[in-house]
């Protein structure tokens, strides 16, 4: 039995401990906001927070997050929308939107440790997240906007 906390709710998992966190979230807990993109930690669509740190859930076995706090897109805005989500909306970032949960989780983690990231820092933090629709320019703008709003 593996104990983890997901979006503030304690959970017990008795399935295969090797199962990546992504599939536990999606197929077992039905938290489908976290997406499957590559299964190899290459695209970032599956990004969640593990104890506040941006983590690729597709390559993270459930047993590795025993006793840890997991936050998914569904739990990001504890009281309504997180500032990063508001900035995303103001900037009209999403096109198809499939990668955006991962992008938003990655950006939220960046701003939590670096509230005023520079151009290079944004690029470095976000370059692991692929957007095939090509919304990068707006992602960058939204991060800057959220950074200002949160200051």
């Amino acid at each position: 039995m593996i104990r983890i906390t997901v979006n503030g709710i304690p959970r017990n998992f008795d399935g295969n401990p090797e199962m990546p966190l992504l599939w536990y979230l999606r197929d077992v807990l039905k938290l489908t906001g976290t997406k499957f993109g590559c299964g190899m930690s290459l695209c970032g669509a599956c990004t969640v927070h593990v104890n506040g740190k941006a983590t690729r859930s597709c390559v993270t076995p459930v047993q590795k997050v025993t006793d840890k706090d997991i936050t998914t897109i569904e739990g990001l805005g504890k009281d309504g929308l997180h500032p990063i989500q508001k900035a995303w909306m103001q900037t009209n970032v999403p096109q198809c939107g499939y990668c955006q949960s991962g992008q938003i989780m990655q950006a939220a983690a960046l701003l939590s440790t670096n509230p005023k990231p520079g151009e290079e820092e944004i690029q470095e933090a976000m370059s692991g997240n692929i957007c095939r629709c090509g919304t990068y320019q707006r992602i960058r703008a939204a991060i800057k906007l959220a950074s200002e709003e949160m200051a």
Partner: protein, 753 residues
């Protein structure tokens, strides 16, 4: 006729079928018995009190239901088309509920590709909204005992101008539903100056949902009792299973069983590829089980396919005379006269779609009927292939369209949906088929590999007096007829037969090529390789003759005129040539504006930096792009700035249009930098984002400025036309910065350090 309409409407109002079907156009009509057989196909718009069109219904509480009948994959068509209805209706957008249509012929064409959602349905959407508005006005006039001519509308309300009285749309819905639906010819459309949404646009209807992880993509669809499937497909196109040992797969916890899927009967069309499916309790178990299958394959004849040999074959063919598809003047005689001769070979490899959402579909077979939930660009094609695969009537296939996590053309081909339906029938449960990223890249319908040969003879001023261009590519049509080897008119028209240059002697040819993989369409399709070749060759000629690239381009285009394309089989993207002529004045204008916006020729670039330009008309839109690059000592290429000028006629949603072009620049960056699928012994070599990389933030344009030309011309495409100009302009910019001419994609083959 009048009787038919009113009777039908009464039938419909009992919830049986759509009256709008009869009113809008005959083409959209459906058999009422079929609808009655399955009540679930009725939309909320269908069952709303006032329902003058298949696209629209108004409830007594004032809620306006608008049907989005095209698929949403990021282009915002799910918002922009209903917005047109809302505008003509004078509806309050906040009271509009958008419903996603199931696949159904009564909506007309639902194949969301070819950048024509707005173009093809702008008129129908306006009529739908205006029809309802007219009925609401008549109902109000009746109620007031006044004249309809004295009434007008404001947001969600009818006003009696002489008295200032007002009635809300919801209050009028019931009375309006009793009014005879006016004919299309009787409906008065708004004038441009009274538009409230068209041209202004609005953010995506799904914006907040998309930022909070809420919307349902295909990957997120669920049914009670559903199981998951992962499929081992034949590694070589056309292969089949010789034998399969599933014992290790069945040991994986959560794996239930394995099921064989029959190989397709040629031609492949949209049939499943065949293989072995692993059925499991969750996605991960299905993936693990699939990896543990021990399958011996019969690879079939395509095992001899090797990309490096094939490239040589295509290029050799491109150096031999081909089928003439356009011929003006006498190219051979002009070449024989001499002048400066320039020749070049251009090459674009197979390209994969790699949408962020890998292919996925959920199907439930029950009582000899199937319901599917799929991220599909073409729900009617889903009905078609699923019905054929299962031997049931097309009407017994209900296809719900989820949001699409990207599509780019791949999700128009519903082989993956058919897989889910076949499996659900076999095991009697809802089945969700999930493709891995590896499946997605290895079993794509690739944008075709193409070789282009170009030759020009220049006069003393550097102007071409003779121009020969020959392209060779395995055609998309090979998936429907394996013996097809020549490019069909609908792909040759894409930037090849419609070369817009003022050339006294021109010959365009196409050579034969056989397909060894499934070929399909990808964002802008044949325009990618055709524009790359023509626009880069044009830049070569400018440099050879020592002229400015943009000026040279304008000289090539020549005087303002409508191109005469009568001597070639020019399809004009299915549009009327009278309504959408190829107008070089518009082509010239986007070039000139791109130069102005990018300060072309006015900026001094440091060593290792430079700018390139390209212009192209595709999907009836005129686009010019200027790309600026900088290359560092390590040979890394960065794109600090892009300026793209778009003349796509009337724009419904400018913000969405800008987003589409910003995205197209990134899509083009992926193609140029790293897009290449290759095969060895018939097996695709690439598998995931490490060996099929797509552009990341640092590899994409830092700043793309999208400039929209204000135009009253009829609306044209915006989803695809940004890709071809970016690809060529990027390569031309690299030449300006490094002196290295990219004639083969991807650019990774060249060293810039």
């Amino acid at each position: 006729m009048t009787v038919t309409v009113s009777v039908s409407r009464r039938v419909f109002l009992k919830g049986m079928f759509s009256a709008g079907a009869l009113i809008l156009t005959v083409r959209y009509s459906r058999n009422p018995l079929l609808a009655a057989a399955d009540a679930s196909i009725n939309s909320l718009a269908d069952t709303a009190t006032l329902h003058p069109s298949v696209y629209l219904g108004i409830e007594t509480d004032g809620t306006v239901y608008i049907v989005a009948h095209r698929s949403e994959m990021g282009t915002t068509s799910r918002t922009s088309l209903p917005l047109i209805v809302a505008d003509e209706l004078d509806a309050d957008w906040k009271r509009v509920r958008i419903e996603q249509a199931i696949g159904d012929v009564r909506y007309g064409n639902q194949n969301t590709d070819g950048s024509h959602s707005i173009r093809s349905f702008y008129g129908a959407m306006r009529v739908a909204g205006a029809t309802a508005r007219s009925m609401l006005i008549q109902a109000a006039a009746l109620q007031w005992g006044g004249l309809a001519a004295d009434c007008s509308t404001d947001i969600h309300v009818v006003i009696h101008r002489p008295t200032g009285r007002k009635l809300q749309y919801g209050e009028l819905a019931s009375a309006a539903s009793k009014i005879k639906v006016p004919l299309e010819s009787e409906v008065k459309l708004k004038t441009k100056n009274s538009w409230i949404y068209i041209g202004r646009g609005t953010p995506s209807y799904d914006l907040e949902a998309l930022c909070t992880g809420k919307p349902v993509f295909g990957m997120d669809a669920e049914r009670e009792g559903m199981v998951y499937a992962s499929i081992a497909h034949p590694p070589v196109f056309g292969g089949k299973v010789k034998s399969c040992n599933a014992s290790e797969a069945l040991k994986v916890k959560g794996v239930r069983e394995t099921i064989a899927i029959e190989p397709f009967k040629p031609p492949c069309g949209f049939q499943p590829l065949g293989g072995v499916a692993v059925i499991a309790d969750n996605t991960w178990a299905a993936f693990q089980g699939c990896k543990r299958l021990d399958i011996v394959w019969d690879h079939g004849p395509n095992v001899t396919f090797n990309s490096s040999d094939f490239k040589k074959e295509l290029q050799d063919t491109s150096h031999r005379p081909g089928k003439v598809v356009r011929n003006e003047g006498d190219v051979d005689a002009a070449f024989a006269k001499g002048g400066k001769i320039v020749e070049a070979d251009y090459y674009v490899p197979l390209l994969a779609h790699a949408s962020m959402e890998p292919l996925v579909a959920l199907a439930e077979f029950k009582d000899n009927k199937v319901t599917v939930w799929a991220p599909t660009q073409n729900p009617q094609a889903v009905q078609d292939i699923v019905s054929k695969q299962l031997g049931i009537a097309k009407e017994d296939v209900t296809c719900h369209v989820t949001l699409l996590g990207g599509g780019f053309g791949r999700k128009s081909k519903p082989d993956y949906v058919a897989e889910a339906a076949v499996l659900s029938k076999k095991i009697g449960r809802p089945v969700k088929v999930v493709w891995t990223r590896e499946d997605d890249i290895k079993f794509d319908y690739y944008n075709t590999v193409a070789a282009m040969y170009l030759k020009a003879a220049l006069d003393t001023k550097g102007k071409p007096i003779a121009w020969l261009q020959r392209s060779v590519f395995p055609p998309i049509d090979s998936i429907f007829d394996e013996n097809t080897v020549y490019g069909p008119a609908r792909h040759l028209q894409q930037g090849w037969t419609d070369i817009p240059y003022d050339l006294p002697n021109l010959r365009i040819e196409n050579g034969p090529a056989k397909a060894h993989v499934r070929i399909g369409w990808l964002r802008s399709v044949a325009n990618i390789y055709h524009a790359f070749a023509i626009q880069c060759f044009s830049d070569e000629l400018a440099h050879v003759t020592g002229q400015d690239s943009a000026e040279y381009l304008l000289n090539l285009i020549g005087p303002k005129r409508v191109l005469d394309l009568r001597d070639t089989n020019y399809l004009n993207y299915g549009a009327s040539y009278d309504e959408y002529p190829f107008d070089t004045a518009r082509l010239r204008r986007v070039v000139e504006l791109a130069c102005e916006k990018s300060s072309w020729g006015k900026r001094k670039f440091p060593a290792g930096s430079g700018a390139g330009i390209a212009v192209h008309r595709s999907f009836l839109s005129y686009v010019a792009t200027v790309v600026e690059v900088s290359v560092n000592d390590q040979g890394q290429v960065r794109i600090p700035r892009v300026d793209t000028v778009v003349d796509a006629g009337l724009i419904i949603n400018p913000e969405a249009t800008r987003a589409q072009f910003e995205g197209a620049m990134v899509f083009g960056a992926s193609i140029v930098r790293s897009g290449e699928i290759t095969a060895t012994n018939g097996v695709i070599n690439q598998s995931n984002f490490f060996d099929y990389p797509v552009a990341r933030m640092d590899e994409s344009p830092f700043q793309s400025n999208i400039h929209i030309v204000d135009s009253d011309a009829p609306p044209a495409g915006v989803g695809e036309p940004g890709v071809p100009t970016f690809v060529a302009a990027f390569c031309n910019a690299v030449y300006a910065a490094t002196g290295k001419r990219i004639r083969e994609l991807p650019m990774g083959k060249y060293n810039f350090s």
